[in-house]
């Protein structure tokens, strides 16, 4: 962490986006995390993605649980709504907020302790319900705030900073999200923003439960030889299956790609995702194939990154529940109490 505030001075050429903000306007308070924490890079990637997408900060709600990762919403989007909830309970608070006002962009920020241990149940259910959100899991394999014990996502056989070997089997949150029905699943690496920022943009554009697992090395407790979440290990074992080249709201005729090197995933809301294939055989619209692929490579000690699965026909919780379009705070007494005649009609329909 640093003790002085980041100066407000900025580069003279710093550009504004279409809603009149510079990238610096999407920053939050100065981070109190350890110097070099991967989480700070993820915050920077979120800032970059929101700026690039011309998102108005006041249309975003950030929700988090407890842990290093869950502190980070304080360090980005300082002009957005925020709710630092109870340990492992971010998904249910987010679900409630989303039901009350579906017009905001929901960023759920959590860590491996918050999501894979105390909040594992909540994690599973928020995915299967299809809540429209971007769930970002800042995954470093340790409990950083309590001095680096293994978390539930730590790989079996990996070593702690003091040399202890992890004997428990890891929870793979990507596989879990795929199983539970998340309609957008991706994995990124905090040390590669060229990959991470487009993944976050695609996740934000996705309507439905979007899950982004971000490997985020803990420089204080999990960046040593023997760790499988260190900068060096992740760089050596990173298997990116594709790169997102762009996300467009309407398809354009652009080419220059060799046949078979590009995948286009048109979403039914008009969004088009264009991916450059890095692993020729990989099909990011095949959920079962994705599960197999991830598991297969994981068994070889490789970390599969990129856009792993996107369902172009995704639906969300509101569609399932036939809820009203208007946010609750916009409903008038007239909407909520339609009067005796309406009640009579309902009752009549049930007789």
């Amino acid at each position: 962490m640093t003790y002085i505030a980041k100066p407000r001075l900025h580069h003279p050429t710093l550009p504004e986006n279409r809603v009149g903000f510079t990238r610096r306007d999407y920053e939050g308070k100065i981070s109190t995390l350890c110097a070099g924490c991967g989480h700070d890079s993820i915050s920077a990637a979120i800032i970059e993605a929101c700026w690039e997408m011309d998102i108005e900060p006041h249309r975003v709600a950030k929700l988090s649980g407890i842990g290093c990762s869950s502190k980070t919403p304080d360090y980005f989007l300082g002009n957005s709504h925020g709710f630092n909830t109870v340990h492992g309970r971010m998904p249910s608070v987010l679900t409630g907020a989303n039901l009350a006002n579906r017009t905001l962009l929901y960023l759920g920020v959590s860590g491996d302790g918050d999501s894979a241990s105390i909040g594992l149940g909540q994690f599973a259910h928020v995915m299967r319900r299809g809540v429209n959100m971007v769930y970002i899991l800042e995954n470093n394999g340790v409990y950083g705030l309590t001095k680096g014990q293994f978390s539930a996502t730590a790989d079996q056989g990996s070593k702690s900073k003091r040399g202890a070997v992890n004997t428990d089997a890891p929870i793979d949150t990507v596989s879990l999200a795929l199983i539970m029905g998340a309609t957008f699943v991706a994995r990124g690496f905090s040390g590669d923003k060229r990959q991470l920022v487009p993944l976050l943009r695609a996740a934000i554009a996705h309507k439905g439960a979007a899950f982004v697992d971000v490997i985020s090395p803990c420089v204080a407790f999990n960046n040593h030889p023997g760790s499988t979440r260190s900068y060096d290990y992740v760089r050596e074992h990173n298997e990116a299956v594709n790169r997102i080249d762009f996300i467009e709201t309407r398809p354009e005729v652009t080419a220059d790609y060799e046949e078979g090197h590009v995948v286009e995933i048109p979403h039914h809301d008009g969004t088009l995702l264009r991916l450059r294939k890095l692993h020729g055989e990989y099909d990011p619209t095949d959920r079962i194939g994705a599960m197999n692929y991830v598991q297969h490579h994981q068994a070889r000690g490789e970390i599969v990154t990129g856009l792993l699965y996107a369902d172009p026909h995704a639906e969300d919780l509101h569609e399932h529940l036939y809820t009203v379009d208007a946010p609750f705070n916009g409903l008038t007494e007239e909407d909520l109490c339609p009067g005796a005649a309406a009640l009579e009609a309902i009752n009549a329909s049930l007789r």
Binding site: M1, T2, Y3, I4, A5, K6, P7, R8, L9, H10, H11, P12, T13, L14, R24, C34, A35, G36, C37, G38, D40, S41, S43, A44, S190, G191, K193, P217, V219, A220, N223, Y231, D232, R235
Partner: protein, 606 residues
């Protein structure tokens, strides 16, 4: 690009824009930090060692440092009016608020080395030579036509800009080093002086002749037409105490500004500055133009003087032709008449300040001292040595009129040359400046400099009330910062001498520095040639005058590229770096001055 060689003494020196721009390479951020700390005497001594006349320069310097100051660039698009740090005024603060520093000055040598050096002229360059050489044991004799030392600083800079007490103090520090000063002796023959047996002679006689303007009516109205620098000298010595009611000052340089403001104080009610070319093309420093206009002196431009109008030997006015600037086919700018009728400007007196020239009628042309076709001595630009080996030049006498700080810098170089010459060494072998690069880390996120960047804007300097200031030529106009304003202004300095030093072997490429850098100065990317890299960085590096700091390839084969242009030197990259790959290190360069440090190292026999 090849990895940057930070061992090259020039690399980090260029990053300290102010110091690099200063002819004497005064370590500006170093003394500004001392001012922040209230250590005015220490700040003064840092200046004194480098530029010899801190109190004088703090009032009169041409300030090449300020247009170069990074603060001005950093504030672009951030504040309404981007402005550099008021370096010059801070220098004056050090001089004004210091304690008695006399016991910190070198002592006159107890033993002389037997070598005698004469300095012709007692201006800034000659006094610098005397200061550098006297403590080493040389016998220095400084000769000047004027009764007191100071040269141009005393005779031509008006008192309302530079009080006499400051000149007395700072010239006194030098003369007290056991220097023999002979005032009132004009040198009429270099040959005669050389015959007095000096081992070396330094010519720092300035550019004593003001250019005249031979126009119709010049001789008839001669009584009311004066050469600017001569007139200023007469004012300085009290020979002139009054001027006519309506005064025209011809010329657009700093001398013209001094003339018009002096005239305003000697009874000139309607004082006008008239220049041939455009207002923007004037040679005067912008702040001197502002000061003149502030005192109600209009500056009229694009008017070429045609004739002096007179009646019975009395000047009545001047006629001017109106012109405009036109670019010809080659893009050269020329002044052509607009065709409008000539303008008659009535006046009682005219001050001609259209330039100065060097004059060496007192140097015999058969001594072996060569002159070029402009009448300037042929010199080695580095050693300041003339073609007569024991005669050296400096200041305006060397390469024509410049400014005080350039004269001081040339004086230092000449002193090194004279020292080496009299020690029988090769003058061209000049040891590189002494370089020091020291980490400023004191603890976790604790630095020995204040890295919290101040957001305040340039402090205004208080002025004497206009009515009071214009009544007397001796009332100093600028009053200087008080301690509180000086602190606020000093805090605006970005500490550009505290360098961001990158250790490639420690970097784990976590991006922490990239994310935190407020100015987007740092990028990790694949290497390329410079033009390619400059457009690929996180923020475009459009200022090609500023270097890119490029590392060796990192583990991912990328390189770290830092654009030095608008770096705040806030140290956040180093605070955020988990491995200490970034460090903030203070760069201190000690210019080579006369003395043991400038001598060629002798190799002991193996």
């Amino acid at each position: 690009m090849d990895p940057t060689n930070i061992r090259d003494p020039d690399y980090f020196h260029k990053v300290v824009d102010c110091q690099w721009a200063c002819p004497a390479h005064t370590p500006v951020p170093e003394y500004i930090r001392l001012i922040s700390a209230g250590r005015y005497s220490d700040a003064y001594m840092v200046n004194w060692a480098s530029n010899v006349f801190p109190g004088i320069l703090g009032r009169t310097c041409d300030r090449p440092c300020e247009p170069a100051c990074r603060r001005g660039r950093v504030e672009e698009e951030n504040v309404e009016k981007p402005e550099p740090v008021a370096i010059c005024r801070l220098k004056r603060v050090a001089a004004d608020l210091k304690d008695d520093i006399r016991d910190r000055l070198p002592r006159p040598p107890t033993q002389r080395n037997g070598k005698r050096v004469a300095c012709i002229g007692a201006g800034p360059s000659a006094l610098t030579v005397a200061r550098d050489l006297a403590p080493l044991g040389y016998s220095l004799t400084v000769l000047d036509a004027d009764p007191k030392a100071g040269g141009f600083m005393r005779t031509q800079v008006p008192r309302f800009r530079l009080p006499e007490s400051v000149i007395d103090e700072e010239t006194g520090y030098i003369l007290d080093l056991g220097v023999e000063f002979i005032g009132g002796r004009r040198i009429d023959s270099l040959e005669d002086l050389l015959a007095e047996g000096y081992d070396a002679v330094f010519v720092g006689s300035g550019a004593p002749r003001g250019r005249d303007l031979q126009l119709p009516g010049r001789t008839e109205a001669a009584k009311h037409i004066h050469i600017g620098i001569d007139w200023l000298a007469s004012v300085s010595f009290g020979h002139i105490e009054k001027v006519g009611r309506r005064v025209i000052v011809l010329g657009g340089g700093n001398t013209a500004m001094d003339c018009c403001r002096s005239a305003r104080r000697l009874g000139g009610e309607e004082v006008k500055v008239i220049v041939r070319s455009g207002f923007d093309e004037m040679k005067a420093s912008p702040w001197e133009k502002e000061d003149a206009m502030h005192e109600g002196i209009p500056i009229l431009n694009f008017m070429v003087p045609k004739s002096f109008e007179h009646e019975n030997g009395r000047l009545t006015g001047m006629t001017f032709e109106k012109v405009q600037a036109v670019r010809d086919a080659d893009g050269r700018r020329t002044l052509v008449p607009t065709g409008e009728p000539d303008v008659l400007v009535p006046c009682d007196e005219v001050l001609v300040a259209v330039g100065q020239e060097n004059a060496f009628p007192w140097i015999e042309r058969d001594l072996g001292l060569e002159f070029d076709r402009h009448g300037l001595p042929v010199l080695d630009a580095k050693t300041m040595q003339s073609t007569l080996p024991r005669v050296f030049f400096g200041g305006d006498a060397a390469f024509g009129p410049k400014n005080i700080i350039t004269a001081v810098a040339q004086g230092h170089e000449a002193a090194v040359s004279i020292d080496k010459f009299l020690q029988g060494e090769d003058l061209s072998e000049r040891p590189a400046p002494h370089l020091n690069l020291v980490s400023q880390k004191m603890g976790i996120h604790e630095w020995s400099y204040d890295n919290d960047v101040s957001q305040s804007s340039r402090q205004a300097v208080p002025w004497a009330a206009a009515d009071k200031a214009l009544k007397s030529i001796k009332v100093e106009v600028e009053l200087g910062f008080d301690a509180a304003a000086a602190f606020r202004e000093a805090q605006r300095c970005l500490n550009c001498d505290v360098q961001t030093v990158f250790a490639k072997s420690l970097c784990i490429e976590c991006d922490a520095c990239v994310d935190i850098c407020p100015m987007d100065s740092i990028t990790f990317t694949m290497n390329g040639d410079e033009a390619d890299l400059r457009v690929r960085l996180k923020a475009p590096a459009e200022n090609t005058a500023q270097a890119l700091y490029v590392s060796e390839p990192l583990r991912t084969n990328r390189v770290m590229v830092k654009d030095e242009d608008v770096c705040l030197h806030c140290g956040l990259c180093a605070e955020r770096c988990p491995t200490g790959a970034w460090d903030m290190q203070k760069f201190l360069i000690e210019m080579t001055h006369a003395g043991p440090g400038c001598r060629t190292p002798r190799r002991e026999a193996a």
